[in-house]
Amino acid sequence: MRVLLVDDEEKFVSRLAERLEIRGFESDWATTSAEAFSKAAAAKYDVAVLDVKMPHMSGLDLKKKLQEMSPDMKFIFVTGHGSEEDYCAGSREGFCYIIKPFKIETLVEKINQAMNV
């Protein structure tokens, strides 16, 4: 199972990817949307974990683009913000919405749920 992690906070996203690797997920990470596009173009991902608030392009817009590239991809949104708007949009657009900081087990559980494992 391949997971793409996108978040502007490198120290966060890289560690998260590594931890998921340890738990048996093939994980790639990106800190910008451009990087995410190139990653998505190069390989096929089953799940994308996106930060809602990012510079240049929000997680929600990125999701639309990525969905065009691979319609089967599942999306999980994470955010440190957690405003009502965010929450509504995130839970509508994606499979689920998790507020930072979260336990790695929570994310693993949600990814598994998204993939119906």
Binding site: E9, R19, G80, S83, I99, K100
Partner: protein, 582 residues
């Protein structure tokens, strides 16, 4: 003072001790000043008018009395003068028409006396006296023929002044009489005659008694020496001396105000009867003549006091009523100001808190993931996994992150501007659900829960989730405050204004007054570091306000705490589909 206890203004015992009160005015002072001013402006002019009226009425009535007395005196004087003049004129008529010699016949004299008695009345006898003072002829009931009047005062006076009226004197039969006399013109040789007649004073008495006087009044005639010439009611019989002062001569009727022998003020009308030694006196007791004045005065005084009492009551009532309204309105305004202050403080603290939470969540996530990875790495490397100290350290970091995360998430929930999703709800149902969330905790802690929500309470249109959270927070707090054997009382009642009032009451340890002021502030907790986050009640407060409700708390240390929430039965907003809620 009992009446004052019931009617005194609401603010009577309030001292301007609170800071807010100093901004407003001193109600007690304003109240007293307004009562004083109102009383002065209403009573002062009334008193002045009253005084003027009093004086005018007194003067009018006393002038009227004087005038009336004067008029009666004057009229009576005329009658008496006329009576005397008439009789003197009768004698003059005889003197003018006849020679004195023609009256030396006793028969003629008797005939004249008879005519006088029949024509005028009051004549008792008639005598002819020659210049030597000898009564040379006499007709009448007494034997006076040959009596000499030579040395008598009246004879001398009559010889000088032509006619004469005497004082009253007691005659031979001890009956009061008076003498009138008329002289013939003096002859060339200096000889003259005098015609003398005795008059009965009964006629005088009749004239005076026809005045129809009241019991306290008196009318009489006295001579210039103050000897009574007619009987009087209060000053003695004929020839007694009156106790009143003898007035100075005046050609007109006069009034004098003196005191009688008992010191009572009296009004005396007097008139000197011309060509006679008589003074007519009409005596009235001031007390009696002023009777009309006294009753009017009493009426005026009663009216004045009655009006003053009415004015006093009305002024007191009005001032108290108005000042009570002002005071109550001010108190309401103060309360509203305080509430506004605290709710705006809560809002700004809330905003700050959520802002901080947003910013902290991201670094927290970084710490979490880095520590997590560290733990993962250690977990996968056997030599570190066996090191308990290392694991403990990392777990401590992760636990702290988790705890911080819990706080920031709650903070975010506190500020979240969600739209309530409104649906029809049965309060009893919602409350039962909340109680079921608590599970067996009350049972374990031996706390009995009593819920009294009437079955017929109308359905409330509100947000289920918010209500659940509100009730859960309050019930949780109540349970935390109670020891074993506590009692949790939950009631709901419909109140005025189409609202429902829900009270959650415990008999726990209560909240001190200083803490009570702060309980709705975020991060205020009494449970210490390991207890709550201090956000429960601020979230509850925010939720209740969002549902257009109100929350109040009453608490007493050692007795318990009661939270009362009032909510509208209908939340003013769109009713959303339940399925849209998260």
């Amino acid at each position: 003072m009992d009446v004052f206890q019931h009617t005194r203004p609401h603010f009577w015992n309030i001292r301007a001790s609170k800071t807010h009160d100093r901004l407003l005015f001193n109600y007690r002072r304003v109240w007293l000043v307004s009562i004083f001013l109102l009383l002065v402006v209403s009573l002062f002019p009334m008193s002045i008018l009253m005084g003027i009226n009093f004086k005018l009425a007194h003067e009018a009535i006393s002038n009227e009395n004087r005038l009336r007395t004067l008029r009666i005196t004057s009229n009576t004087r005329r009658t008496i003068t006329y009576f005397l003049e008439e009789r003197l004129d009768a004698l003059r008529f005889i003197v003018q028409g006849r020679k004195p010699e023609s009256l030396t016949s006793n028969e003629e004299l008797r005939y004249l006396l008879l005519n006088l008695k029949m024509g005028f009345g009051g004549f008792v006898d008639l005598g002819l006296i020659d210049q030597s003072g000898m009564q040379i002829n006499y007709a009448g009931p007494f034997d006076l023929q040959g009596k000499s009047y030579k040395d008598q005062d009246w004879f001398t006076k009559c010889a000088e002044e032509c006619s004469y009226i005497s004082d009253v004197f007691l005659g031979y039969r001890n009956r009061p009489h008076m003498i009138i006399a008329q002289r013939w013109p003096v002859g060339e040789d200096g000889s003259f005659y005098v015609l003398r007649s005795t008059l009965d004073i009964t006629k005088f008495i009749t004239i005076i008694s026809s005045l129809d006087l009241t019991a306290g009044s008196d009318a009489f005639i006295c001579n210039h020496e103050g000897l009574l010439q007619t009987p009087s009611r209060h000053f003695g019989e004929v020839l007694a001396k009156i106790t009143l002062p003898i007035p100075e001569y005046s050609p007109h009727s006069q009034i004098m105000e003196v005191e009688d022998h008992k010191g009572n003020p009296i009004l005396v009308g007097y008139a000197f009867i011309e060509n006679s030694p008589y003074i007519l006196m009409l005596v009235k007791r001031s007390e009696e003549v002023m009777k009309g004045w006294y009753s009017l005065r009493d009426e005026m005084i009663w009216f004045f006091f009655g009006s003053s009492v009415v004015i006093l009551i009305v002024v007191y009532g009005m001032a108290t009523f108005i000042m009570n309204r002002v005071y109550d309105a001010d108190q309401g305004r103060l309360k509203a100001m305080e509430r506004l202050e605290s709710s705006s403080r809560l809002i700004s603290v809330g905003r700050l808190a959520t802002g901080v939470a947003h910013e902290i969540n991201n670094p927290l996530a970084v710490i979490s993931e880095n520590a997590g990875l560290l733990k993962d790495i250690f977990t996968f490397k056997k030599e570190y996994k066996e090191d308990p100290q290392l694991m403990e350290l990392i777990d401590a970091v992760l636990e702290s992150v988790e705890r911080s995360g819990a706080i920031t998430k709650q903070l975010l929930g506190f500020a979240r501007q969600f739209e309530p999703s409104i649906s029809p709800l049965h309060l009893k149902e919602v409350m039962s659900e909340v109680l079921s969330f608590l599970g067996k905790e009350p049972l374990y802690r031996n706390i009995s829960v009593h819920m009294d929500i009437p079955e017929d309470l109308p359905v409330i249109y509100s947000d289920r989730r918010s209500l659940q959270q509100i009730f859960l927070n309050l019930i949780n707090n109540a349970i935390q405050a109670m020891n074993s054997g506590g009692l949790l009382d939950i009631t709901a009642r419909k109140i005025q204004g189409d609202r429902v009032s829900i009270s959650i009451q415990d008999n726990g340890r209560g909240i001190s007054p200083e803490n009570l002021k702060k309980i709705f502030e975020p991060f205020f907790t009494t449970r210490g570091l390991n207890g709550g986050t201090g956000l429960g009640l601020s979230i509850t407060y925010g939720l209740v306000r969002k549902l257009n409700g109100d929350i109040t708390v009453h608490s007493e240390l050692g007795v318990g705490t009661m939270f009362v929430i009032t909510l509208p039965f209908r939340f003013e907003g769109d009713i959303k589909d339940e399925s849209l809620a998260r």
